[in-house]
């Protein structure tokens, strides 16, 4: 089935905002979505895949080669032509084996023609796009380690079966999981720029609307997609504009001070928190079509940028979100 239209998702504003921010600025480093089952985590993540403005690749490239950096890729790119293709959104299925993720010797060519050739894996396919991992708690540990390593270095290094290949692999990691099923390793959590917690909306009207829309889609997927096409196209343009504008967004000194104070107040470890907070604020301002980051932008993104970076206090039962909101209240009233 085709993805659910992004704009047709009821409620879940924070999750949607986080996904849009990560699409505007991939350097922020992806989104981790926490939530109970049946809250629409995967629906929203997959819906994003249809909203991404196209990108340019060298024709015939199996590594999504960027025309500006042809030489970075381990393939002979003979074509001078450039093609516009949709930004890849790769869904990592459970049960994926390591060879398919990192790439391996091309079995078919090896068996059929006795040639030693590299067959790119999912990491190559996700390059310059998104990699989505549903139920990240269920992913085999060795795959998690591998993804972490690649996500950190931006490069996939394959040394197996007599092959030695390296290729760029920069992607935005989007994960979803249920905290009831075990904690995520802090190193993994830290890789995600933003984290959001989702619940089914408490509002009865919203719940009715969810049922109504799912029913409409079930009856006629085409008509439903058509109905939301215009709204989705608008978001796509918003993202495209945001991507162009994000580097020109001005951050006033007062906002920088605010961000630093907030990080200290909530005890967010490390520089990464402050950096993410700033980048996410800029991306939100760009999405809003503004030129300057305001305190409102900062406050809007603070929970998603910081909640997974707070030092864990065994005696404090207060949730991370509440701690951040309290700090915002105290600092900025």
């Amino acid at each position: 089935m085709t993805a659910f239209p992004f704009s047709a998702i009821v409620g879940q504003d924070e999750m949607k905002r986080a996904l849009l921010i990560s699409a505007v600025d991939p350097r922020i480093g992806g989104v981790m979505v926490f939530g109970d089952r049946g809250t629409g985590k995967s629906t929203a993540a997959r819906a994003l895949s249809t909203l991404l403005p196209p990108m340019r690749i060298v024709e015939g490239s199996r590594f999504n080669a960027d025309p500006e950096h042809r030489d970075d890729y381990p393939e002979e790119l003979t074509s001078k032509r450039v093609r516009r293709v949709p930004v890849p959104f790769v869904d990592l299925p459970l049960g994926a084996t390591e060879d398919r993720v990192v790439g391996a010797l091309d079995l078919e060519r090896a068996l059929g023609r006795g040639e030693k050739a590299f067959e790119p894996g999912l990491l190559a396919r996700a390059h310059r796009g998104f990699l989505y991992i549903d139920e990240i708690n269920l992913l085999e540990d060795h795959l998690v380690d591998l993804l972490l390593d690649v996500a950190a270095s931006g490069e996939n290094l394959v040394e197996r079966e007599g092959l030695s290949v390296r290729h760029p692999a920069r992607f935005v990691l989007i994960g979803s999981g249920n905290p009831e099923e075990g904690e995520l390793r802090p190193q993994l959590l830290d890789r995600f720029g933003l984290s959001v917690e989702v619940k089914t909306p408490d509002d009865i009207e919203q719940r009715i609307e969810i049922m109504r829309r799912c029913d409409a889609r079930e009856r006629s997927p085409e008509a439903f997609a058509e109905e939301w096409e215009a709204a989705d196209a608008k978001i796509l343009r918003q993202i495209a504009r945001g991507q162009k504008a994000v580097d020109k967004i001005v951050v006033p000194d007062a906002i920088l001070t605010d961000a630093a104070e907030l990080c200290v107040a909530v005890g967010a470890d490390g520089l990464r928190g402050e950096l993410t907070l700033m980048r996410a604020s800029k991306a939100l301002a760009a999405l809003d079509g503004k030129r300057k980051v305001t305190r409102a932008h900062l406050i809007a993104v603070a929970p998603m940028a910081l909640r997974h970076r707070l030092r864990r206090d065994v005696l404090d039962e207060t949730g991370s979100t509440a701690r951040i909101e309290r700090a915002i209240e105290e600092l900025f009233g």
Partner: protein
């Protein structure tokens, strides 16, 4: 309209659920039948008859591997064809049919996760062993759950994705109500539920604390199936009530706050018409007729399973009716950490990795064929150095079992330290692949407060509820610790016991007070643990260390650690060191 049954009858409910499922097996996800026995056999037989004749029904063994479940490279076909050939697994083979999972309570998270994805996508995506592909896999799931204890349940990832939850335990009669004579309608001929109907379902879900949007969507589909089954093109109030009873009630996590079931007797429908008449005669504004929402809610409340009612109150914060059991289901993934394939000979338990062997042999084929000359037969030439074996890193995770003396004699303040230590252990549990469990013993017996888990969220909840005070039933605490250790060991993990006590037993195994008997029982229990050779430590938490705890440690053949002024961090460090030593030994 069909009135909801005055007294919900689990047998007829289960039968209705089975019928509804058979009406829309792929749209309703599946059905969970808990409790083995003749009742379930009869229901499964009826289900098989009610399903369309050409619909495949496949049994799935719990031990199914990824090759057979999701599919992968067909090795013999690939070798024959000289090109990679994709082979479908059970999920794709059952496309358009039913997968029956016997002993669903023993399904691993691994298998459950893959089935769950197929239910979501109605397809399987394969990225394995050098081959990729996608195949349609629209399935319905029949979960046959033989579980007895509350912890033995099918994985939540699956129960969440099936519409109907039927608990058949306790049903003695096989007296099935007659099949309705009405001619069923195709689902697609039933009109969509109107706003009042949706509102009634959404309101009921909220009142019962059912958070999942999936449950809500299932309820709407079930209402439609109910109308179809009765041969009606429009959804009636009774269909909504049936859907709420069968889909929402079993998932209830709380009861409605304002209205109690007594205010809304289930014989509502008749009253409703009467009252409506009244209302028409008198003033429009006076007594409001009960809304559909109230009627549906009342029907659902009457069907909330009694065990949920019992849990309500002490367990409100729990994520869902069947939530929270996932933590201890990690057993099947712990056969060791796959490290990929390495050159080697497949013997001594090492398994041949065919794909990797072929990969290693492939580049040499042309050369080897030339060596053998033109007349050599066409076949793959595999030589000894090509052989690759699968490698697993043997690391059975440890489970630290805290057995905490929560009696009055042990300083109550020490409980806080135990809590802190447990949280510290969990904070680094992921890295060490470790789990933590918590037993408290006080008053007349012992209680498993936290089954083995590595979820900090769950642990926090259990710890917050840790009670204190009363006598010291040491034997009961030790017995439970031993049972849990056995369970842990049977799942291939290593138990490590941390016993926090002052060793002064004063409640016997049977719960009766008396120091001498209590001590004797405690010693007997301790000896049985010693016979199992469980490693562990006795932490003496009395302010002035006494001989009792040291004696107990000697009987248990465990380390003795007096920590009169311990804090959480010290306790954690001490346990950590001892445990590392025990694992290394």
């Amino acid at each position: 309209m069909t009135a909801p049954d005055a007294v919900p009858d689990p047998l007829s409910d289960a039968l209705t659920a089975t019928r509804l499922f058979a009406c829309d097996p792929l749209g309703l996800g599946g059905i969970w039948l808990r409790g083995a026995g003749p009742v379930r056999d009869a229901l499964v037989a009826r289900l098989a008859k009610a399903l369309p004749a050409d619909m495949p029904v496949r049994r799935m063994p719990g031990t199914i591997d990824d090759d057979r479940l999701i599919g992968g490279l067909d090795i013999s076909a690939s070798l024959h064809a000289g090109t990679a050939v994709l082979q479908s697994g059970l999920l794709a083979e059952t496309d358009g049919g039913i997968i029956m999972a016997p002993m669903a309570e023993r399904l691993s998270e691994r298998v459950a996760g893959r089935i769950g994805q197929a239910l979501d996508w109605r397809a399987v995506q394969i990225e394995r062993d050098g081959i990729a592909g996608e195949m349609p896999a629209s399935i319905g799931l029949l979960l046959l759950d033989d579980g007895v204890s509350a912890e033995e349940r099918p994985p939540v990832s699956l129960t969440e994705r099936v519409a109907f939850h039927c608990d058949l335990t306790g049903i003695e009669s096989l007296d099935f109500p007659d099949d309705p004579r009405t001619k069923p309608l195709a689902n697609s001929h039933v009109e969509e539920p109107d706003d009042t109907a949706l509102r009634a379902l959404a309101g009921t879900a909220m009142a019962l604390g059912v958070g999942s949007a999936r449950a809500l969507l299932f309820a709407a589909r079930a209402a439609r199936a109910s109308a179809a089954l009765a041969g009606r093109a429009a959804i009636a109030d009774g269909d909504i009530a049936t859907a709420a009873r069968l889909v929402l009630a079993p998932r209830a996590t709380r009861l409605p706050i304002t209205e109690t079931p007594e205010d809304q007797p289930p014989e509502e429908p008749q009253q409703k018409t009467e009252r409506q008449d009244d209302a028409r005669e008198s003033d429009e504004a006076t007594p409001e007729p009960p809304s559909l929402e109230d009627m549906v809610l009342a029907a659902a409340v009457a069907s909330v399973p009694p065990d949920i009612l019992n849990r309500i109150g002490d367990d409100v914060s729990r994520g869902g009716a069947s939530g929270g059991t996932a933590g201890q289901r990690r057993k099947s993934r712990l056969r060791g950490r796959p490290l990929g394939a390495r050159p080697g000979i497949p013997r001594g338990g090492a398994r041949l990795s065919l794909i990797d062997t072929l990969r290693a042999a492939a580049p040499w084929q042309t050369l080897r064929r030339e060596e053998e000359g033109e007349d050599a037969p066409r076949r793959i030439r595999i030589r000894r150095p090509d052989l690759r074996v699968r490698h697993f890193e043997e690391r059975t995770g440890a489970v630290t079992i805290f057995a905490v003396d929560a009696s009055g004699s042990s300083a109550l303040a020490r409980l806080a330290e135990a809590k802190g230590a447990i949280e510290l252990m969990l904070a680094q549990a992921y890295v060490k692949r470790a789990q933590v469990a918590l037993i408290a013993f006080r008053g007349e017996g012992a209680e498993l407060l936290l089954p083995p888990t590595r979820s900090l969220t769950r642990a926090r909840r259990a710890l917050a509820e840790l009670p204190g005070g009363g006598g010291t039933p040491l034997a009961a605490g030790l017995d439970m610790a031993r049972e849990l250790s056995e369970l842990v060991a049977s799942r291939g993990r290593t138990p490590f016991l941390v016993l926090l006590t002052d060793g002064k037993a004063n409640v016997g195994r049977d719960g009766s007070p008396g120091r001498a008997q209590a001590r004797e029982d405690g010693q007997a229990s301790a000896k049985r643990i010693a016979a199992m050779a469980v490693s562990g430590v006795v932490v003496d938490i009395s302010p002035r260390p006494r001989p009792e705890a040291a004696e107990l440690a000697a009987v248990l053949r465990m380390d003795y650690l007096p920590l009169p002024r311990a804090d959480a961090a010290m306790l954690h460090d001490a346990v950590d060191t001892l445990q590392d030593r025990a694992v290394a030994a």
